[in-house]
């Protein structure tokens, strides 16, 4: 049941507790307790809204940055990751396999802001060897949500056998 509850919340953070209870054939108290427990254990790490900023007529700039770095003797990549993650500009940070060590996604309001962040914050971090910045040109799908929804949805018959 926990997995089903988490999947429902992952798809819709605004789903009502009463709906969750009915869908999962249990009561609201059980759901409230489970959610609380998940929040306390950091199984639920936060609630976000997927916003299509283009449609909100708001200029934002997003970039994906590949970062090469060295590892430290005792902490491996964790210490450097912690430094990078602490910057509020950094939206997401991943340690990855492949040519570079980290991929991070960064949000800013202008390109200059992002450039400044890289030059003055990211690149000087001890252990960072190089960065490769890819500015995002268009967002098609974020966390399962298609940005340009096709309203030509196929219709079902009103009634069928």
């Amino acid at each position: 049941m926990l997995k089903e509850m988490l999947s429902l919340l992952e798809k819709n953070a605004r789903i009502e507790v009463s709906d969750l209870a009915a869908l999962l054939n249990t009561d609201e108290e059980t759901i409230n307790n489970k959610i609380k427990e998940c929040e306390d254990n950091n199984v639920i790490a936060g609630y976000h809204t997927i916003i299509n900023w283009d449609n909100a007529n708001t200029e934002t700039v997003k970039a994906m940055i590949a970062v090469s770095s060295t590892a430290e003797r005792d902490t491996g990549y964790d210490h450097i990751a912690e430094i990078i993650a602490n910057y509020p500009e950094v939206d997401s940070l991943y340690l990855v396999s492949g040519k570079t060590e980290f991929i991070l996604i960064i949000n800013g309001s202008t390109m200059r802001e992002i450039a400044n962040f890289i030059a003055h914050r990211l690149a000087p971090i001890e252990g960072v060897i190089s960065t490769e910045t890819m500015f995002i040109l268009k967002e098609y799908k974020i966390m399962g949500a298609i940005m340009d929804k096709d309203n030509n949805k196929a219709e079902r018959l009103l009634m069928s056998l």
């Binding site: 009915a22 079902r156 009634m159 069928s160 056998l161």
Partner: protein
């Protein structure tokens, strides 16, 4: 020109389906919401759609073998073995049809002689009786009672058996009741079928939507495989209604007869749809789980809500329908649905559309989004309170 005398008598007398009538009224009104569909609300999983497009793009658009693409028949037989522990030979015991609908038609036409009796437990899916009658057979209805979980009981079946009985049509999980039969339920009736040498047409189109329990086919009962004609398809399990791909699994002696009709009336099921079905049977197990989970959650939701607003509803164990009793309103199911449509713009299907035993019930499909179900419940509650 006087068409009337040029039309086949049987067809002329065939009543239009009770669903059709409501559909006609509902589609002329504005702002109608409906819980009346008999198809899933998911778009076909992309990898399946892509397989159909790939087939068309690559010119795989010729007729296939009458029985269907061998690869598809192999995948269907693998699937039945994997999921339901039933082994069929893809080369001789499997026929791909244009939906379960064609399967129902050719099976009945192939087995019935004039006056043969076909036992039909009701409430039942609306297509069986008219096709039996078109094939010159006689429908003998037997009742499945709500208090028995809409299962077919031995006593009821026994009452209907006669020397003229040729076949029994079953459909579990059931449209419209959502009822299922378990292994023990089938064991109870197994001997009657064996002793009377009758065929069982087992329409298992909702097999994948069996909740909390595993689907059992009557062919799983020792000795009954040879009596059983399994009808199934891709529509409900993979949300592929528009592809029209169904199939029959049965003894070779029967499949050969079905194929005689199939080859002259259909030739073969649509080729691109067959390729889509291969993708579904091969790689679609994960899609089934996702849809199953979502249907189960919505079933829980709607049963709770219907009971809350005062329509006593038992928890169905399969399909995506609930079949609540409206007897407390003292209205017939037709009156109930007409008034509901008129007052609240909410379309449900009257139980009487599914045979006389459906009277006093309505069929509610929950193959809708939670928002739609909520709105429908609001309207239904307002309607009940106004009575």
């Amino acid at each position: 020109m006087i068409f009337d005398e040029l039309i086949n008598k049987q067809v002329k007398e065939m009543a239009p389906s009770g669903i059709r009538k409501f559909f006609d009224i509902a589609s002329t009104k504005e702002g109608v919401i409906s819980l009346g569909v008999g198809e899933p609300d998911f778009i076909t999983p992309y990898h399946i759609r892509e397989a159909a497009m790939y087939a068309i793009k690559n010119g795989k658009t010729f007729y296939t073998a009458n029985l269907g693409l061998l690869e598809l028949r192999q995948e269907i037989c693998n699937y039945y073995l994997r999921k339901f522990n039933l082994a069929y030979n893809p080369e001789t015991e499997c026929l791909v049809t244009v939906g379960g609908s064609e399967a129902i038609d050719i099976v009945l036409r192939a087995i019935l002689n004039e006056g043969d009796e076909v036992i039909l437990p009701t409430p039942s899916y609306v297509a069986y009786a008219p096709i039996v009658e078109l094939s010159k057979g006689k429908v003998i209805e037997v009742t499945m009672k709500e208090e028995n979980g809409f299962k077919l009981k031995k006593e009821e079946l026994l009452k209907a058996i006669s020397p003229k009985t040729k076949a029994l049509i079953i459909n579990f999980p059931s449209n419209p009741t959502g009822g299922i039969m378990e292994y023990e339920d089938y064991l109870e009736i197994a001997q009657i079928i064996k002793e009377n040498n009758i065929l069982v047409i087992s329409d298992e189109i909702y097999a994948e939507l069996t909740y909390d329990k595993k689907h059992v086919s009557i062919a799983n009962i020792p000795g009954l495989r040879e009596n059983t004609i399994i009808i199934n398809g891709f529509s409900k399990a993979y949300s592929m209604t528009g592809y029209r791909i169904g199939y029959i699994l049965a003894a070779n002696e029967l499949v050969k007869m079905f194929n005689k009709i199939h080859q002259y009336t259909i030739m073969c099921a649509t080729t691109s749809s067959q390729f889509a079905a291969i993708a579904a049977a091969k790689n679609g197990d994960k899609d089934i789980v996702e849809m199953y989970t979502s249907f189960k959650q919505r079933r829980n939701y709607i049963v709770k809500e219907l009971n809350r607003i005062g329509l006593k509803t038992h928890m169905p164990e399969g399909a995506f329908y609930v079949f609540p009793s409206i007897k407390s309103t003292k209205m017939t199911s037709n009156e109930f649905c007409e008034a509901l449509l008129d007052k609240e713009n909410l379309a449900l299907v009257p139980g009487s559309a599914f045979g006389k035993d459906g009277e006093g019930y309505v069929r509610i499909s929950y193959a809708y989004s939670l928002e739609e179900i909520k709105e429908a419940i609001t309207r239904l509650e307002r309607f009940l309170n106004s009575l």
